[in-house]
């Protein structure tokens, strides 16, 4: 295998990893604090992608200009969901986990129905930044490069927010020890809402950028949920560095497996790795998994 092909596949793999990381970061934020795994994560990404593509077709707003709006929209949606849906979880941990799973399942079902009603079943995407940059023999898709840079930026911003700002420290305390944080007077309820808002906001921002990369319709959500899970499971729940690393590994695996194996093998890679990682390294590579 000559050098040029290896370089191209590596670049494609890393860029794909950036896309995967962007999808998974939001999931990590929510799980980190609330230990709730949001099954509607993919649906929020797809809803944002659909809005972004309509905004572009009808008002010419580019997906990048849409980022802040998507983030705020996603954050508001996340806060509402957390308030309405998750404040009523039963006290015992096993019951809470099952019920939160069922609740987010119901929310996902609702969002798919809502998207169908508003956007119909059509596949939508945004024809923006569709060309590729040429670096000698290597070509780099512009939209994926943007997603890669955005993933690094958002992960960095999250890391800074969690370490440097008071809210961030409170969030981190809550994620490490809920009882301890409550004992220090941190309003756990507010922290849960903020983490949901933040997580859903990041997911929506990812969705806005994805409209440049994928053609999606309301049914495409579960695909992104499963993809984000594979990344977070590989990288370890609650660890941002883990998410980036997990995403990179997955992207490379899909890219190389797709070339040397078959396209089907590439498509199956996330699921296979997801199941393998969970069985042999339950906490993922860098993560502090569920107790």
């Amino acid at each position: 295998m000559h050098l040029e092909l290896a370089a191209q596949l590596t670049i494609d793999g890393l860029l794909l990893g950036g896309v995967f990381a962007l999808a998974a970061l939001g999931l990590n934020v929510i799980f980190g604090v609330t230990r709730i795994v949001n099954l509607a994560h993919g649906e929020i990404i797809v809803l944002a992608a659909l809005c972004a593509s309509v905004a572009f077709q009808q008002r010419g707003i580019t997906p990048i200009a849409m980022l802040p709006f998507a983030f705020v929209g996603g954050a508001v949606l996340g806060a509402i969901l957390e308030r309405i849906v998750f404040q009523r979880l039963p006290s015992d941990p096993a019951g809470a986990e099952t019920t939160s799973l069922l609740l987010t399942f119901g929310v996902a079902y609702f969002i798919v129905g809502f998207s169908l009603a508003v956007f119909t079943g059509d596949f939508r995407s945004t024809p923006y930044l569709t060309s590729g940059l040429q670096l000698g023999p290597i070509s780099i898709g512009e939209s994926r490069l943007v997603a890669f840079v955005a993933a690094i930026a958002i992960a960095g911003a999250l890391a800074v927010l969690l370490r440097a700002t008071p809210i961030g420290r409170a969030l981190r305390a809550a994620s490490q020890n809920l009882e301890g944080a409550r004992a220090c007077g941190i309003d756990i309820g507010r922290m849960r809402t903020i983490s949901f808002a933040l997580g859903s906001g990041v997911a929506a921002a990812a969705g806005s950028l994805f409209s440049m990369i994928y053609a999606v319709n309301p049914d495409s959500g579960s695909q992104f949920t499963l993809l984000s899970f594979s990344v977070v499971a590989l990288g370890g729940l609650g660890s941002y560095a883990g998410t980036l690393l997990g995403a990179a590994i997955l992207g490379l695996a899909v890219s190389f497996a797709g070339f040397f194996g078959s396209a089907q093998l590439g498509q199956v890679m996330p699921y296979v790795i997801f199941i393998a990682v969970l069985l042999f390294r339950p906490n993922g590579i860098l993560g502090k998994g569920a107790a």
Partner: protein, 399 residues
């Protein structure tokens, strides 16, 4: 333990059960009640996007026919349900159309999976059913007597593109497409067709349904340095593949995406990247077929968007059904069936003629179109071509 709940559940179960028994049959006088045509459409689920204008195709024919006094002096009505792209739902809805709504005739649903399941209902009730949206042969050649193919066979779809490749000396062919029923019905026939045309297949692999990434497939196409790319794609994967080609700066001399680019919003989504892309359609507004021009203009004035081949195929299927009813001079299923099996007639799609034994379409041919300057033009077969095919596919840098 409270009895009330269970007695209520029991009563509900019984009520629902007797529904079928006692609902009075629709009594209607011999002639002036409307002739009702029933069908299911995939408005939700995975087939929703392809079956977009199926409903409008039916509605337009009925509107025009009613304006001409309907059939046998009776108004025509359409009764449709959404089968949500699910075979079991479609079967139940066709049973409902026939047993419950007492429709007089039925027309086929979208996709070979649903048609294969619904064919049993048609056979059981001995009601002829034209399938305007199924071009794969498999559902038909199974000893069925009541279903007929209302569109050209999928194996002919690629002939135009192959002829263009042969004419321009593009010997090295890469074959790909989505791994699902319709694309496989074509990709399966391609090796023989390409060999017959003296072309060499240098790469052949299908990508999975709703693939998340095409860069690996494109990398292999690049490695194979194929001259012609034949990709049997629907709309979303055609867009995905086109973008992956552009981002990898891969521009084979001939690029064909089967039915994906036939949809008008392929141009909207791809913009000027669409120029040069070849595709297959079964209909064009400029076809020299009987009242085709009226159909095209009537469709765009009524629905504000130009017709596509789905709408034309559905319209043509009712043209055949209408002719069969007129010929039978009565709502006689067997006479209509025999007419559909043996007639040779011209519709907006062209010459309708099926093999009486299998119901496979022999008359209709498919056309090859090319995106040029943001619009679609028929480029093959020569007799119906509006413009010459522009080849090679322009490099990404020169667009």
């Amino acid at each position: 333990m409270s009895h009330t709940f269970f007695s209520r559940a029991l009563a509900a179960a019984l009520a629902c059960a007797t529904l079928g028994l006692v609902v009075p049959g629709r009594t209607f006088a011999a002639d002036q009640s409307p002739i009702v045509i029933g069908a299911t459409i995939s408005q939700t689920g995975s087939y929703a996007v392809d079956a977009k204008y199926a409903l409008e195709g039916y509605q337009l024919w009925i509107k025009e026919q009613n304006a001409k006094g309907g059939l046998l002096g009776r108004k025509i009505e359409l009764k449709t349900y959404d089968d949500a792209s699910d075979p079991a739902t479609a079967v139940s809805l066709y049973e409902r159309l026939i047993d419950q709504d007492h429709v007089d005739f039925i027309v086929g649903p979208y996709s070979s999976a649903i048609t294969a399941a619904v064919a049993n209902v048609a056979e059981k009730h001995k009601m002829p059913m034209i399938s305007p949206e199924v071009s794969a042969a498999a559902p038909f050649s199974r000893g069925l007597h009541y279903i007929f193919m209302g569109i050209s066979q999928s194996t002919h779809y690629v002939e135009g593109a192959i002829a263009i490749a042969k004419a321009n000396g593009y010997k090295r062919v890469a074959i790909t497409g989505e791994d699902s029923a319709f694309p496989r019905s074509i990709a399966g026939a391609l090796p023989d067709i390409t060999k017959a045309a003296g072309l060499e297949v240098v790469y052949s692999e299908l990508y999975p349904h709703n693939a998340s990434d095409y860069s690996a497939v494109v990398a292999k196409i690049k490695e194979s340095n194929a001259d012609a790319l034949l990709s049997i794609s629907y709309f979303p994967d055609a867009i995905g593949m086109l973008r992956a080609l552009k981002q990898a700066n891969v521009a084979p001399k001939l690029v064909y995406f089967a039915v994906g680019p036939t949809e008008l919003n392929f141009g909207k989504e791809a913009g000027k990247d669409a120029d040069g892309v070849l595709a297959t359609t079964n209909w064009s507004a400029n076809l020299k077929t009987p009242n085709n021009a009226e159909f095209a203009s009537d469709f765009s004035t009524t629905y504000g968007t130009p017709a596509d081949y789905h709408a034309a195929a559905n319209y043509a299927s009712l043209e055949v059904l209408g002719a069969a009813i007129l010929h039978a001079k009565a709502l006689d299923q067997e006479k209509v069936r025999d007419f559909m099996a043996n007639t040779k007639m011209r519709t907006v799609l062209g010459n309708y003629e099926v093999d009486p034994a299998t119901g496979l379409q022999l008359g209709y041919t498919s056309l090859t179109l090319q995106w040029q300057g943001g619009k679609q033009y028929i480029v093959a077969p020569a007799a119906m071509a509006e413009r010459k095919a522009i080849v090679p596919f322009a490099d990404w840098s020169k667009r």
